[in-house]
């Protein structure tokens, strides 16, 4: 005879504001098989959990229904509590009357009735639940880190230093990401390359790290502990083992006028190239779109000059497969192209550039060797106007969120300009100054007070060219909305930070969720900031939302510690909610007829055949067998089984039917 305990949570007012919890408890107490039914303000709190435990002991309960929030939230909490009181955790079920009821309905009797229905279905299910034991699977202690910017570099080093293997995959020819393009970094103005490039070298040298550049994720399957990752190694047209990185090919390549991606188009590169001199690995790739040989079928100058004969024109993309226990996403961000802001003249006037291009102008290794010279004629600009929020916080034309990093880097840009061009005047048009990090506000004050950056609070309506000057028309909202016109020599747009191209495709390959801006979603915005909703896949840095370097590095280390935590166990405990082939007493042994329809439909190749033998070893019957280590509990085989011989533990036919019947039958 079932003895079920029902525990109705008010969740503060989250549930009780629209659901009459007392009534739910009272009605539930009359359900057949319910021994105890109570309500409480915070069931997940210590006293709440104790109520559950005491009831189990006092009434010798055979099942527990906690009627509260989503099982995603607190199912583990209550199952642990039950286990502590000696009840098998799989005899505890969550009835979700918050997300599925109180949050989505107005206060009314109907809402309360719905909550009662939800509780009733779970009571009927839990009556049929069986005690289950968790299963354990071995963990492959290798992490695949996707993206080799500062986030991927930091995470890889942290995981590798903890003693685990790391495979770092980067789609560009070099690791380094956007940080390697930056000149100096706020708020300390230390040189970006000086702090990053040694870390890049560490990655290349670390015995625990395997680095694949110019590579992309082809496919991922498996699950936490045991992912199978297929990586496409794009052809570099080069035998990397032979190449010494001497650079002769780069010097002799006749195609020299390709706008360099690394220099934001301000510099040029050759068709065989390394993105920048400090690249890791410092070995070139051939850009087949621009290479004369691939266009016209002849040239091969690089092959002729290569002293080690490392060029391979016929090299094709290859693939490697990696077994990994965890994946870490660190694919970074991009900046919004401002083509849809014709009023700023980006793309029309050479001297209207974006923030990343200004970084290259200010960088000692940049196209101007760190001198601030405008792109059109190489003159040193006497007035630069910086426009903050070019696209950010602009739901009409750009994106509605704050890109977060622009206030600081714009202050830095203005400061660097002033440091290099003492007689120059920097102006910054801004909406608000958001300088909330450590030493950030002080940094902005320094820009205003010591470096005399002219901050104008207001928006720019138009930038146009007249007599060789860029006329910037805007408004100063602190001067009662007075119109302002500045004759500038150069304009720098702090364009919005957006998700890296290809993010959506990658998210779909990995089955991680992403938001409407294509940034990857964390499992919980406060409590699980570096986890995704997919177990075993973690997030770091600006692929989640735009972040500055300190935040990115902190997130990367956090994600790495999560991976190291996962790898600290040899076995991974998994819920036993997997498919099993039902067996029964002889002479039938199993209702499985051996049609084996289930084998080809299983997406995880978890099903094989099992021979049932008598004591003398004669085969009586061959039936399906499901490997518990591989089964993910998806249920495809259950749907395909004609003789209803397969069940998902915890969700078997009886349990699910009982739920449906409880919902349909009015009592």
């Amino acid at each position: 005879m079932a003895r079920i305990g029902v525990f109705i949570c008010h969740c503060g007012e989250n549930i009780s504001a629209t659901v009459d919890c007392e009534k739910v408890a009272k009605v539930a107490s009359e359900f057949p098989g319910v021994t105890v039914s109570v309500d409480y303000k915070y069931m997940c709190s210590d006293p709440g959990q104790n109520m559950v435990k005491e009831a189990i002991l006092e009434h010798n309960l055979t099942g527990v229904v906690v009627s509260a929030c989503s099982p995603r939230m607190h199912e583990p909490t209550f199952r642990n509590a039950c286990a502590e009181a000696g009840l098998n955790p799989f005899l505890c079920e969550m009835a979700n009357i918050r997300e599925h009821c109180s949050w989505v309905h107005e206060k009314s009797d109907a809402t309360t009735d719905k909550a009662i229905d939800i509780v009733r279905t779970l009571v009927e299910k839990v009556k049929r639940n069986e005690a289950l034991a968790p299963i354990y699977v071995p963990i492959t202690k290798t992490a695949v880190v996707i993206g080799g910017g500062v986030a991927g570099i930091q995470a890889s080093l942290d995981i590798a230093d903890a003693g685990h293997k790391v495979v770092l995959v980067e789609r560009e020819p070099s690791i380094g990401g956007h940080m390697s393009q930056l000149s100096e970094t706020f708020p300390t103005l230390d040189c970006s390359q000086c702090i990053l490039t040694p870390r890049m070298v560490d990655v290349a040298r670390h015995p625990n790290i395997t680095l694949y550049t110019y590579a992309e994720i082809e496919s991922v399957d498996g699950s936490i502990g045991n992912f199978n990752v297929k990586i496409r190694l794009k052809s570099k047209s080069l035998d990397e083992k032979l190449c010494t990185g001497c650079g002769a090919c780069i010097q002799k390549c006749p195609v020299k006028k390709i706008p360099s991606e690394f220099e934001q188009g301000l510099g040029k590169r050759t068709a065989i190239y390394v993105p920048f001199p400090q690249a890791v690995p410092n070995k070139p790739v051939i850009d087949r779109v621009n290479c004369t040989y691939y266009i016209k079928g002849k040239c091969k100058v690089c092959e002729i000059v290569c002293p080690t004969k490392a060029i391979r024109f016929d090299q094709e993309d290859s693939f490697v497969e990696v077994q990994a226990g965890a994946l870490l996403l660190a694919t970074g961000f991009d900046v919004l192209k401002t083509n849809f802001f014709p009023e700023y003249g980006y793309g029309k006037y050479e001297d209207v550039i974006d923030g990343l291009a200004f970084e290259r102008l200010a960088s000692a290794s940049g196209p101007t060797k760190g001198e601030i010279r405008r792109p059109s004629d190489g003159e040193i600009p006497k007035k630069i106007v910086f426009i903050a929020c070019a696209g950010s916080r602009d739901p009409a034309k750009g994106i509605e969120y704050c890109s977060k990093i622009c206030c600081m880097y714009t202050a830095k840009h203005a400061m660097l300009y002033k440091h290099k061009v003492h007689e120059g005047t920097p102006y910054i048009f801004y909406m608000d100054i958001r300088a909330t990090g450590k030493m950030y506000e002080e940094f902005v004050r320094r820009a205003i007070e010591e470096d005399e950056v002219k901050y104008i609070r207001g928006r720019v309506s138009q930038v146009y060219e007249k007599n060789g000057k860029l006329i910037v028309r805007g408004v100063d909202t602190l001067l009662m909305g007075q119109a302002v016109e500045i004759e500038a020599d150069m304009v720098v747009l702090a364009t919005a930070g957006i998700a890296s191209p290809g993010s959506e495709e990658l998210a779909q390959k990995l089955h991680v969720s992403y938001d409407k801006h294509k940034f990857f979603s964390e499992a919980h915005p406060k409590l699980k900031p570096v986890e995704t909703n997919t177990a075993g896949i973690f997030l770091a840095g600006a692929c989640q939302s735009t972040k500055d370097i300190p935040e990115t590095v902190a997130a990367a280390s956090a994600a790495a510690s999560k991976v190291a935590g996962l790898f600290s166990n040899d076995l991974l405990k998994r819920d036993p909610l997997i498919a099993v082939v039902k067996k029964c007493a002889p002479p039938l042994y199993s209702s499985c007829t051996g049609c084996f329809m289930c084998i080809p439909v299983c997406p995880y190749q978890a099903i094989d055949k099992e021979e049932i033998k008598d004591r003398s070893g004669n085969i009586i019957k061959t039936i399906s067998h499901i490997n518990p280590g591989l089964c993910q509990g998806c249920g495809t085989c259950v749907a395909f089984c004609k003789s209803k011989s397969i069940d998902i533990l915890g969700y078997n036919h009886d349990q699910v039917c009982a739920e449906v019947e409880a919902l349909l039958n009015e009592w």
Binding site: F341, P342, E343, K348, Q462, Y464, E465, K466, I471
Partner: protein, 301 residues
């Protein structure tokens, strides 16, 4: 074969900007389009109505739309940018707001379907003129021109869904097809001062003066407009503009329909150009003449 479409001239085109109406009718006739006026039309309310009374500002254009609907017009052309803006905005608002539509229907005693296609002058040209202009064109409009769109033709984009709000291109494209060289200039959608024309000509002088001077400074030989208000500010108020700018400004201002009329070889009277305050001293080259010049040069070489 004559095509018939609805025509809402609005008050300006009956009064101070009758030359605009004349040129549009001339243009339509040249391309075998008969413009049928919306019967018993009224004022669209312009700026005045929506400053005074919101429901009036909906009801006035709604009545026009109802009259067009009654006359079974599925498309109407509205050359005045302000009228075009009001009619399109009102149809949009009434379409999405059932309660408002019911209220307005009660006032104007009609059942609005809100499915009339409302064309501005540039859309009219794109639909009925652009494809055939090459065959009928007699003169090349081989001039540098500044296309001036004003405020109301392209904004708000969400509702009008016409061209770009910043740096629009549709008029430039039309002028290019006539052989003109439209300049790239920054004041395409700058405010001309609009209704201040009556009350504060000094403000119009400053705002419009800046527009005209910029066009002239960049070497334009004509300003091309598509709005009667813009035209009267740039043309009729020229003395005030010159006073504000402190210099003589002689650049003429043409409606886009007049520019096409000129290229078709229509007289100044037919296209209403004779009514302008700033004289239009533009002589166009014969269309066939231009290739001949090129041929001669080739022979010399």
């Amino acid at each position: 074969m004559q095509k018939k479409i609805g025509y809402y001239p609005g008050c300006s085109l009956e009064g101070s900007s009758r030359e605009y109406s004349e040129s549009v009718v001339t243009l339509a006739n040249a391309f075998d389009v008969e413009l049928v006026q919306v019967p018993d039309w009224n004022c669209c309310g312009a700026t005045a109505a929506h400053n005074l009374n919101s429901i009036l500002s909906f009801s006035l254009p709604a009545r026009i739309l109802a009259k067009a609907q009654e006359a079974e017009m599925d498309t109407i052309v509205v050359p005045c940018a302000a009228c075009y803006n009001r009619l399109t905005m009102v149809q949009h608002e009434l379409k999405k707001d059932d309660a408002l539509r019911a209220e307005v229907n009660g006032i104007i005693e009609a059942e609005l379907k809100c499915d009339i296609k409302i064309l501005n002058i540039v859309q009219f040209i794109q639909m009925f003129v652009a494809d055939f202009v090459a065959s009928k064109q007699q003169f090349l409009f081989d001039k540098k021109v500044a296309c001036y769109y004003g405020c109301l033709l392209v904004r708000p984009h969400d509702v009008l869904d016409f061209d770009r709000t910043e740096d629009p291109q549709s008029m430039d494209e039309v002028m290019k097809s006539l052989g003109a060289n439209p300049i790239d200039w920054p004041f395409k959608t700058e405010c001309c001062g609009a209704g201040m024309s009556v009350s504060r000509t000094d403000i119009v002088g400053r705002l419009s003066g800046r527009i005209v001077k910029e066009a002239a400074d960049r070497g334009a030989e004509a300003i091309i407009v598509a709005c009667p208000m813009c035209h009267s500010n740039l043309d009729m108020r020229r003395p005030a503009l010159e006073k504000a700018m402190g210099e003589k400004l002689t650049i003429p201002v043409l409606y886009i329909s007049q520019a096409i009329d000129m290229a078709l070889g229509k007289s100044q009277k037919e296209s209403g150009i004779n009514r302008h305050f700033v004289p239009v001293n533009i002589s166009l080259q014969n269309k066939v003449a231009a290739p001949q010049v090129v041929l001669e040069k080739t022979e010399e070489n």
